[in-house]
């Protein structure tokens, strides 16, 4: 019997038992759709996490910060200087694997910013070199960054993120127009600074999409002449606001940078009494090659240990932990999602096997007749396997369709920053899995049917 005939017989058989076949397919439908939905969710989460990791500079980057002297070195406490600008120069000169190094001098506690009659305490106000912008993947959208001359002369200039602008001058969503406060004066703990640049607005792809969508809806509403805007207190809904996934972006948006020298001379003078070596909060370092991260770290460690005479008043913090955590999390999510989907598929497969066993015991006589007129064991075997595969494949196709609905359902019931991403490969894998399960589920019943004795089957009733 040709394959086409077997497939035609299979479809007929399924059609003859529509309801039973549908119930049987349900397991496969659920398995396939949950496999696709799970993988879409994980894919979305992974993309979100990677975006966040890239937004803070990726694995190539790490930071050295001051830390209290460890207990066993307590007696050396008085010699501890913490991370200093001198360390930065030393690393620059002695650690060849280092590509970029950027010192950062933060005001602790963070200062009060005032402008436009408003006050705001931001996340971080730091004195940096211009290289910090490259380091932190900042992009200036308006104005310029301060340069070496600004730094040398300790000019009172600053560059701000859009979050600062939103707080002090107003959020474009609320004011209806984008304010660019270049040339305006911003006071940091009372000292006046001129805003010379503003970063672009940072947000995740997902946030950007929702914002643009909302904007489009707004425009449509205005265009259609509906002026009855929603009343009542405004909700804080975003701008990549302080939502979980957008945290990395939120920090970037709430940054104020001034030249390092300015920070040292105008904002921190009087707070410290070691003018010979300027103390830093931390330094950010970028290596040439991620694969040589270990080598770079040991170079830096050597330089630092020599300069600090063995006192461990600094620590090195890489993003490896974070990246690792992301990987572990994604792996776990994949595993548990895969497990759930796998179990549903398995249950679906068992259902198919069950129905095929029921089907062949209903059709013992039919099988006997087919064999009597010349069907070989292989013909019968193929017919049963094809039937169970057809059931599974129809279930698989329906499952691919259902997965769309399932994803919409999940989106509706959960608040996730990361939109699920349905990949073609996950659909192919799920569909392939349903085919494999169909074949496997059919094997045992098919073998049983193929081995039936002709005479006994003919006599059966």
């Amino acid at each position: 019997m040709g394959l086409w005939n077997a497939i035609a017989v299979g479809f007929k058989e399924i059609w003859a038992h529509k309801f039973r076949s549908l119930l049987t397919m349900l397991g496969i439908i659920l398995g396939v759709s949950s496999l696709i939905a799970m993988s879409a969710l994980v894919e979305g989460m992974e993309k979100g996490s990677r975006e966040a990791l890239v937004a803070v500079g990726g694995l190539q980057k790490f930071r050295i910060e001051s830390q209290p002297v460890p207990v066993e070195q307590r007696h050396l406490r008085d010699f501890a200087t913490g991370v200093t600008l001198g360390d930065v120069y030393a690393i620059q000169n002695n650690a060849p694997e280092v590509l970029k190094i950027s010192p950062e001098m933060r005001m602790e506690p963070s200062p009060t910013l005032s402008a436009n009659g408003k006050n705001f305490r931001t996340w971080s106000t730091a004195g940096v070199w211009p290289v910090q912008l490259e380091m932190m993947e900042h992009n200036i959208e308006h104005g310029r960054c301060f340069n070496e001359v600004d730094d040398e002369q300790a000019r009172s200039v600053c560059v701000i993120g859009t979050g600062i602008r939103d707080e002090l001058w107003g959020n474009p969503e609320e004011t209806g127009k984008e304010i660019i406060p270049l040339g305006q004066t911003l006071t940091i703990n009372g000292s006046p600074f001129t805003v010379i640049g503003m970063f672009e607005h940072y947000e995740s792809d997902q946030d950007r999409k929702t914002r643009l969508l909302r904007k489009a809806e707004e425009a449509e509403r205005l265009a259609s002449g509906l002026t009855n805007a929603p009343t009542g207190p405004k909700r804080m809904r975003g701008w990549g606001g302080n939502r979980r996934g957008g945290f990395a972006f939120w920090i970037k948006n709430n940054t104020v940078y001034v030249p390092l020298n300015t920070m040292w001379i105008k904002l921190l003078s009087g707070q410290t009494n070691t003018p010979s070596d300027k103390r830093l909060s931390e330094m950010e370092i970028k290596v040439r090659d991620v694969d040589k991260l270990e080598l770079a770290l040991s170079e830096i460690r050597n330089v630092m240990m020599v300069r600090h005479r063995g006192i461990e008043d600094f620590n090195v913090r890489t993003q490896e932990d974070w990246a690792e955590q992301i990987n572990v999390f994604i792996k776990n999510a994949r595993l548990s999602g895969g497990l759930i989907a796998g179990i549903s598929l398995l249950v679906g497969g068992i259902g198919i096997m069950n129905i095929m066993l029921a089907s062949i015991s209903e059709r013992i006589r039919e099988i006997g007749i087919r064999k009597a007129v010349g069907a070989g064991a292989l013909d019968i075997f193929v017919q049963i396997v094809v039937e169970s595969t057809v059931i599974a494949l129809i279930g698989g196709i329906a499952g691919v369709g259902t997965s769309y609905g399932l994803i919409q359902l999940i989106i509706a019931f959960t608040t996730t920053d990361n939109a699920p991403i349905v990949t073609v490969s996950s659909m192919a894998i799920a569909f392939g899995a349903s085919a494999v399960i169909g074949v496997l589920a059919g094997l045992f019943p098919a073998l049983k049917a193929a081995r039936m004795n002709v005479i006994q089957s003919l006599r059966y009733d």
Binding site: M1, G2, N5, K12, A16, R365, E366, G368, I369, R370, K371, A372, V373, G374, A375, G376, A377, L378, D379, V454, I455, L458
Partner: protein, 247 residues
């Protein structure tokens, strides 16, 4: 060389330690073109013999040659192939597939011999014309009378142009008149030169065939006891009616 050669064939069943010889040392030749009945009381081993002759079953002992091919050692798939090409069966209970219509039932053997759809249809129609059922093609078996169902079964047995046709009590489930119609069909087939084996417990039916093989307790009876059941008289009458039919 005979079409079918059985040599010392036995079929032994074991039931709870007891040995049942359904066939006991049967030796038998069937020539091509013969019209032959296998007769004997119920349980004597007629069906068992027919199953072995028809490659539905294999013997426990002995050898069997069909068309020059030794088949007692053949694998199940080889047997399936022989059944498909060389043998046609007609059963007491028709054994049609209830989900298929008349044509599809007749096409069934050809599906397993890999004949294309168009030729399949043509040959099925021809076979159905022969049993005068060309007008019931789309009917399901359940929509036909017993006699019509048996005619469909005969068409199915003929459609692959087999060397030999076996019929196991083909009229056993039909009323006398319908049985005669079916019997007439087999006689026609025999007249066309086909080899036909008719299994029956009914002497009146056996009387129709020129050759009769009598089975008792799994053995071939040496000589058919013609006086028993008035076989001689029936045979004479049958011969007379056949002669009359020829005029």
């Amino acid at each position: 060389m005979a079409l079918l050669e059985l040599r010392n064939v036995s079929k032994i069943y074991h039931l709870g330690g007891e040995e049942i010889r359904a066939l006991d040392d049967v030796t038998l030749d069937i020539e091509a073109g013969e019209f032959c009945s296998i007769i004997g009381p119920s349980g004597s081993g007629k069906s068992t013999l027919m199953h072995i002759l028809g490659c539905l079953d294999s013997p426990s002992l002995g050898t069997i040659k069909l068309d020059g091919v030794e088949i007692q050692k053949a694998s199940t798939s080889q047997l399936a192939h022989i059944r498909n090409r060389k043998i046609g069966f007609v059963f007491q209970f028709f054994n049609l597939l209830p989900k298929l219509n008349v044509v599809q039932n007749v096409e069934l053997p050809m599906i397993y011999s890999g004949i294309g759809g168009k030729e399949r249809r043509e040959r099925a129609l021809k076979a159905l014309e022969m049993v005068e059922l060309g007008n019931r093609l789309k009917n399901r078996p359940s929509q036909l009378s017993g006699g019509q169902q048996q005619r469909v079964a005969i068409a199915r047995a003929l459609v692959n142009d087999p060397k030999i046709i076996f019929a196991d009590e083909p009229t056993g489930n039909l009323d006398t008149h319908t049985g005669e119609v079916i019997l007439e069909l087999f006689r026609n087939l025999s007249r066309q030169g086909r080899t036909v084996m008719l299994v029956t417990h009914n002497p009146e039916i056996a009387a129709v065939t020129p050759r009769r093989i009598e089975i008792r307790n799994g053995k071939i009876a040496d000589k058919v006891d013609t006086r028993l059941a008035g076989l001689d008289r029936l045979a004479a009458a049958a011969a007379k009616s056949a002669a009359a039919g020829a005029h």
